[in-house]
């Protein structure tokens, strides 16, 4: 024992660690860990392990490193098995032989590393992974500068600093939209959105906009069936002012009776332009109302005309008290800010706003559709229209992403199946488009077609449904899956090219998809989807009994439009 202490004194800790092969073990560990991570990174997703399995392996590997060094130092391999180094007679020690074995192991691992790098260089993807090569584009992780925080009162704030331009974008997502309405107050969420700009107990109607614009800022807002979203775009010099303005209207909103009536006229004008004088939106409104028998997604977000005429100030203030509470909001800031300054301002301006009892949940779920529904809108029209809607999932359902890819295959651009068939090859349609609702509750997958004058609408409908049904029975090709993935991936990057796109994307993922972090998992999720996944979702959705068909055309008696 005494001689060991002397040895340490003489050789120093460094030499002793070297003698005990601690450094070799460390190198061996690092290289082996790298290889292991490469293997798990490839295999785990393909074996169906969840996303966090990769991260779990990383954590294990990191934790294991100090342990490995500790054991290398404390223990020693002897012909009689593993013993504590202090218990080994140093004259009998075989650490030198063990070191040679470690050298050999290191050499083997290094060869493996070189081979692995060579393979990935020569074959960007493993040769047997032949479905299609993954894109040569950096896959994003969650950028570490993004930070999220929930205030004491439940308000969630997400900040993504980006100092490319001296501007800031702020989005405020309010969980209130058409689905929170009922007959009599349809359109109220959207009307309320307008009233949020029309005065508080501390500011005159219109002052919000005048102050913001004078400080270099612009704003807007939109309402959907699920949410109301307020948007501010401003120079970073106006950051505190925007907090001040937003905090004021979240606490002190008032409704002046004259302003209320004037704004009713504004929204009615918006309805006339967007719906009543627009055949596309007229038909969409009717199809939406027909596709649902129970769920409030049946209401037009702009509101039915009689409700626009009927809203009262009491309706508006009740709506304000119910939904405009901090615990019902998600705010996103992107651009020329730091997370710390945003959080500090939020504590000052927003944290004092008390949390409220959460609004009643929307309980109604649309029951299974029991058979096809059809409707006709007759109106002046030079070009008839055909809309076809199917009930599908909510934003967070696992079917949403495969359906998004499927829609790219069906209607995404000029190379899509439906465009090629109906517009290019058979000239049955002037245009064909589609989308899916991605909301809190199950929504619709929606196709809308504009047809040439004198079109045979029935024939078009047949061809459209046949094409959709063919996906359910025969699936899609690998090339189509690859194309859809590429489109989604490119769109992902396009979204992140502006601070506005970043704010919008972060907010949507935070509100609808269970966390802003999931935005960055999208490219990888997309890569994991297969043709089978897409076929399965087609089979589940594209059924006749699950379908609502709407046709808009001129009355039968009307003369056909002349052709030049």
């Amino acid at each position: 024992m005494g001689s060991l202490a002397e040895t340490i004194m003489i050789m120093g800790l460094y030499s002793e660690m070297r003698r005990r092969n601690v450094f070799k073990v460390a190198m061996l560990y690092v290289i082996a860990a790298w290889l292991l991570l490469r293997v798990t990174d490839y295999l785990l997703p393909r074996l169906g392990f969840p996303h966090w399995a990769d991260e779990f392996v990383v954590v294990l590997v990191l934790l294991g490193f100090p342990l490995a060094l500790f054991f290398a130092y404390i223990y020693e391999i002897t012909p009689a098995g593993v013993k504590k180094t202090v218990d080994v007679d140093q004259t009998q020690s075989i650490v030198y032989k063990t070191g040679q074995k470690l050298n050999a192991a290191l050499a083997v691992l290094l060869v493996l590393v070189i081979a692995s790098l060579a393979v990935s260089r020569l074959f960007p993807t493993f040769p047997f992974d032949e479905e299609e090569p993954p894109p040569h584009v950096a896959k994003p992780g969650v950028p570490p500068e993004i930070r999220g925080r929930r205030l004491e009162n439940g308000l969630k704030i997400v900040v993504w600093p980006d100092h490319d331009i001296p501007n800031v974008v702020m989005y405020n997502f309010v969980r209130a939209g058409g689905r929170n309405e009922y007959p009599g107050i349809t359109g109220l969420s959207h009307f309320f959105e307008h009233m949020m700009f029309n005065g508080t107990s501390t500011r005159e109607p219109g002052e919000f906009d005048r102050i913001m614009e004078a400080a270099g800022g612009a704003n807007n807002a939109y309402t959907t069936s699920d949410v109301t979203v307020y948007q501010n775009w401003f120079p970073s010099s106006a950051l505190e002012l925007v907090f001040n303005l937003e905090a004021d209207r979240l606490q002190n909103l008032t409704t002046d009776p004259e302003v209320f009536e004037s704004e009713r006229g504004v929204v009615y004008s918006e309805r006339r332009t967007a719906v009543d004088d627009n055949n596309l939106r007229r038909l969409h409104e009717q199809v939406q109302a027909t596709a649902y028998v129970a769920h409030p997604y049946q209401f037009p977000v702009i509101g039915w005309p009689s409700d626009i005429e009927g809203w009262t100030q009491q309706d508006v203030m009740a709506f304000y008290r119910t939904y405009y509470a901090p615990n019902n909001l998600t705010m996103v800031f992107t651009g020329d800010v730091t997370a710390d300054e945003v959080f500090e301002l939020a504590e000052t301006y927003f944290e004092p706003i008390p949390a409220q009892q959460p609004p009643d949940a929307v309980r109604t779920l649309e029951p299974e559709q029991q058979g096809q529904r059809r409707l006709i809108v007759e109106t002046d029209a030079q070009t008839p229209m055909l809309h076809m809607a199917f009930h599908a999932g909510a934003a967070r359902d696992p079917e949403t992403l495969p359906m998004r890819l499927l829609l790219e295959i069906l209607v995404g651009g000029d190379s899509s199946r439906l465009h090629q068939l109906l517009v290019e090859r058979e000239a049955l349609a002037v245009s064909v488009n589609g989308f899916q609702d991605e909301g809190f509750d199950p929504g619709l997958v929606y196709f809308y077609l504009t047809l040439p004058p004198n079109a045979d609408v029935e024939q078009v409908e047949t061809r459209l449904f046949e094409t959709l049904a063919a996906v359910a029975t025969d699936g899609v090709t690998l090339a189509e899956v690859a194309k859809a993935r590429n489109i989604v991936l490119a769109d992902f990057w396009r979204d992140l090219a502006t601070i506005d796109g970043k704010a919008s994307a972060l907010g949507r993922f935070e509100v609808f998809y269970g966390g802003y972090e999931r935005l960055f998992a999208l490219p990888e999720q997309v890569e994991r989807l297969t043709a089978d996944d897409l076929q399965a979702v087609a089979a589940a959705v594209f059924r006749r009994n699950n379908m609502t068909v709407g046709v808009l055309r001129a009355p039968r008696v009307a003369a056909a439009p002349e052709t030049p």
Binding site: V137, G206, D209, T383, T498
Partner: protein
Amino acid sequence: MRRLSVAVSILLLSCTLFDTAASAGRVTLPAYERVALDNGTVLILNRHAEVPLIGIRAVLKGGAVADPAGMNGMAGLYAALIGKGAGDRDAASFAEAIGGVGGMLTAGAGLESIDIEADFLARDADLAVELLSDMLMRPLLDETEFDKLRERSINLIRTAKDTNLNGLMPDYGAAFLFGAHPYGNPTNGSEETLGNISHEALLAYYEAQIGGDRLIVSVSGDFEIDAMRERLTAAFGGWRPALEPLPEVAAVEPESGRRVLLVDKPGATQTYFWIANVGVAVDYPSRAGLEIANTVYGGRFTSMLNTALRIESGLTYGARSVLLRPSRPGSVAISSYTRTDATVEAIDMALGVLSRLHEKGIGESMIESAQNYILGQFPTRLETAAQLAGQLAVLEAHGLDDSYVNAYAEAVTAADRASVEAVIAEVYPLPDDLVFVLLGDADAIRDSIAKYGPLTEAAITEPRFRIPSSAQQDSGNR
């Protein structure tokens, strides 16, 4: 490997966008390279690697002003047809080549140019250049595709007349204001003029009006400058010039007096109106003062027009003042809409705002507010690779230098009340000198709008935008 690429992408996302003196709106253009090829094609290259995308804006000078007589829509039809097969690819494979990699490649006609925008993942830059050069230099211009496209273009106009009434106003407006002048050409033609275009005429147009001397290719994004310059030079350096010169566009003077076009859309719930005269050109020297004046008068939410017609009276969802400044004086227009029975009330109110602009001008505090607004919003217009590529191409196309962008903030800051009032007097028409275009339910409004001036009337189903004025003898310049 994901963990490695995480680091790479974080690096990319936090990369500085461009070398700007970007404070309080003082954005300047980034360093870029301009190369003039021997055949007249100009290349503009700017590396901008925030996201792994590449944006290309190709501009062919010409556009709707160069449409052959009676064949409005030729430039638009050509722009659409070059995407229907080029090089070794037929229409379907050309579309597949774009969509297959998640790219976007669109071409369309404007008044004075044909613009092609390409937006691809950076890894597909070679393909983007290949497709672009194929569609410009080796388009198939196939007759069957031409026939389909022409029919479809005509139907898209019919659809617009069923769905987007406000969107039709610029075409009806320009055609009525400028008449037979090229600035009256509807950029995508009309049902009638598209019908006049034959495949043969399009082939002749391609030879006469399209070529390398008309081309600007501006590229911005994540790529290596040297390699891209070589690739573009090889791709476009040998393209032939257009056989015929660009048509000269004469300047039109503002007209005096009033005249009215009423486009009848039976059953329309609103009247859409566009009230205008001839304004100024792209090289208008007091541009900063004009932007300030227009911001206050009709260019933002709290503008005088929107305050009167929307905020204070609830007559409309929106009212604004729109300036078009092509190479020669374009239009300056009030644009709005209101429910049918409020037509006269809203138009009178808009004319009252125009009078007030002339009589009372704009106060100091409003000028300062507009200066802040313009400077505060300006940086967002040059944020992305695609925006930069577009801006650089536009400067080149109009022969403007960098000071158009770089000196803008300073000019906005320097403008004062006197200079803004001088601009108002020079640019905005007086209420007595206006061309009115109204689209709505004619039977319901015909009598009440007669007071605005001599009336010309047409049905929305008439297959044309250019409606000959029945009152041309009354107008000042015709």
